[in-house]
């Protein structure tokens, strides 16, 4: 018996808003595709001014990188571990360097 079955209801499905493609095209037209450019600034400004995320939010590649940044800011050295409040709102993270 073939055990493979196709799920009718997947666990997750990426949701697409109307403007993703438009903004990718605009980023291309700006002539800057690397980090910390027009759209990074837009997102950061939006989070800060419209959503009230004070403390200079910075867009990074992943939340793991955000934790990594926090360990540097917290001055955690190899061998130590500390519970530290992340400077993004929403969550607390346990960051450690082995």
């Amino acid at each position: 018996m073939n055990k493979t079955c196709i799920m009718q209801i997947p666990f997750n499905k990426t949701y697409q808003c109307p403007n993703e493609q438009v903004y990718v095209i605009q980023a291309l037209q700006f002539g800057r595709l690397s980090g910390n450019n027009a759209f990074s600034q837009k997102v950061q400004d939006h989070l800060e001014s419209k959503r009230g995320w004070d403390g200079c939010p910075r867009v990074v590649a992943s939340v793991a990188l955000r934790h990594f940044w926090s360990t540097i800011r917290a001055g955690i050295k190899p061998g130590s571990a500390r519970l530290c409040e992340r400077d993004y709102k929403v969550v607390f993270g346990f960051a450690t360097i082995v």
């Binding site: 997947p10 997750n12 990426t14 291309l28 002539g31 690397s34 980090g35 590649a61 939340v63």
Partner: protein, 370 residues
Amino acid sequence: MKIPFNKPYATGKELEYIQDAISRGHISGNGYYTKRCQAYFEERYGFKKCLLTSSCTDALEMAAILTGVGPGDEVIMPSYTFVSTANAFALRGARLVFCDSRQDHPGMDEDKIETLITSRTRVIVPVHYAGVACDMDKIMALADKYGLFVVEDAAQAVDSFYNGRPLGGIGHLGSFSFHETKNISSGEGGMLVVNDDRFIERSEIIWEKGTNRQAFFRGEIDKYGWVDIGSSFLPSDMIAAFLWAQLECLDEIQNKRKAIWNRYYELFSDQADELKLRLPYIPEYATNNAHMFYLLANNEEHRDALIRSLKEKGVHAVFHYQSLHRSKFGMKFSVACDCPNADYYTGALLRMPLFCGLLPQDIGLEWIEF
């Protein structure tokens, strides 16, 4: 500026592939396009194992973890390089030992490496500046002799070769960049190449936040967990989709860039002596992937005057690295050293605009009337 220093090149398929990645329902890391890009490099260049990363910085940080360097260990690298080469190993607590550049090329002077090796040396990091190979036979022989690892920083060296062997595939580990200024770009992006079997299993774990998730996906284990240190080094599959559109056109892109590079070389070679400029040198064992066209002025004053003169003509030319042995932060992590050639390149090197949308005929004779 009439002629910008760089302009990202789009092949025309990028948006289609990004949309396809979304339609496939998997836009996080290690999706369809990530696997396709990795397989492309493995097949085309014979790299043993490729892992796309969010940047070349990420790939170097993974390499630093894999080599196992830590406090007390020393890592030899050129002073004339980007900070990411150094940061990756400084983050592990290693001491940096800066090697001077060659007289004829900004790459590290292979003949000076052995004098820098001590009982604490663990890794040599050759940087293939401008995509031009370091003398890898000399470096690998030293690595063999002293039991060291070699991590090739091939950030600028996609599709470039050393005696017929692809750069990034010679050392134990290699790293590439797909930043917007590189020949092949995904905005930000990079790749780790694992050439040594001993590192393959652990590289996947570090790539996947220190978990054995890849083994789980292959059905080798029934659940995955935290087994090592790591981070989220994977790029989104949308980034990989963008990269795939570029890889499909790699030969076309390379041909266009080489035509621009050759135009510069022909234009300046007749005038070089008169203008007191040196042209790029490419050793016999190396190929030119046309990542960069640079000129070497007499000194910083001369170079800066050239930048100003070009700016007045609407041409955006730029300088490049500031040697790391002189940097405030670099001095904290490094062994004190003199690198007079690196100092020279810091002051004298001038990078000309080079991007796919630039046409050889756009490069005018009037540019060089300094």
